[in-house]
Amino acid sequence: MTPAAAPDKRKKLVIICYSGELEKTWATMILASTAGAMDMETTVFVTFWGLQIFVKDKKRITGENWMQKMMSFMQRPGASHRKLSKMNFMGMGPWMMFKLAKKYNVAKPKELLEMAQAVGVTFLPCQMTMDMFGIKREDLVDGMGEPVGAATALQLMTEADSTLFI
C-alpha cells in the first residue's frame, strides 16, 4: 500500500475485469495504471476470462483435469497472448496492433500491468474462477492479492466513487 498523506480523501475506483480480449485488456490496464498514477485507491477484481490475462505469459497450460487443460490450450493464457474480439485473423490483427502500438509509443498491456502494480493498484483474483479453471496462485503473475469472491467485489463496489465492468 502506498502511504497516503490524507487518508480517506483518496477517490476509490473498482474495475471488474471480466473480459480477456486484447482490446478490453488494454482498456482495463490503461485505466487501472492511470487511476493508480492519479492517486486513486484502485482495486481490480479479476474474474472469468479476465483471469486468463493474469496467468504468467510463459505458462502454456493450466488446470488439473483434461477439460481445464483443454480450455487453457484453446485460449492461450497470459497478458501478452490476448486475441481481438474482431479482426483477429489467426493472430494477424493482434500482430498489427502491437506493430502500431510500437510505432506510436503505446504501452503494451503487459507493461501497463507492471506499471499499475508499481503505483499500488490491487488485483484480486476470483476464487471461483481459479477453482473452475484449475488455476493456481503460482500460475498467476506475482504481486496479486488474496483470492476473493463476489461478496467482496460487491462490497468494494458499493464503497467506491466509480466502478467499471470491462
Binding site: 498523506a5 490524507a6 477517490k11 490503461i30 495504471s33 492511470t34 493508480g36 498514477a37 492519479m38 492517486d39 486513486m40 506510436y104 509509443n105 503505446v106 504501452a107 501497463l112 506499471m115 508499481a118 503505483v119
Partner: protein, 78 residues
C-alpha cells in the same frame, strides 16, 4: 522568466497516453515534498490530462507552456 529550481526533468516526447502521466508519476515519486518536476510531452491530450492529474493528486501545476508541438509542465510534489 524567473528560473525555477527543477529537481527532475522527464522527457515524455513521442509517448502516447497514458505513458506521459505514468512517467511523471514514476518521476515525482522520487522527489521530496515541495520539489519540482518538469515534464515535456508531445501528446496534445496531455494538456488536459496533466491538469486532471494535478487536481487528482494535489501536485500543483507551477508552470505550463507550449511551443513547437511540445507541451511543458512544471509540477510541485505535494
Amino acid at each position: 522568466m524567473a528560473s525555477l529550481d527543477i529537481k527532475l526533468k522527464v522527457d515524455a516526447s513521442g509517448l502516447s497516453c497514458p505513458l506521459p502521466i505514468l512517467r511523471a508519476t514514476q518521476g515525482i515519486k522520487t522527489l521530496q515534498s515541495g520539489e519540482l518536476i518538469e515534464v515535456v510531452a508531445t501528446d496534445p491530450g496531455s494538456v488536459k490530462d496533466f491538469d486532471a492529474w494535478s487536481k487528482s493528486t494535489g501536485n500543483a501545476m507551477v508552470e505550463q507552456d507550449a511551443a513547437d508541438g511540445k507541451f511543458r509542465f512544471v509540477l510541485r510534489r505535494k
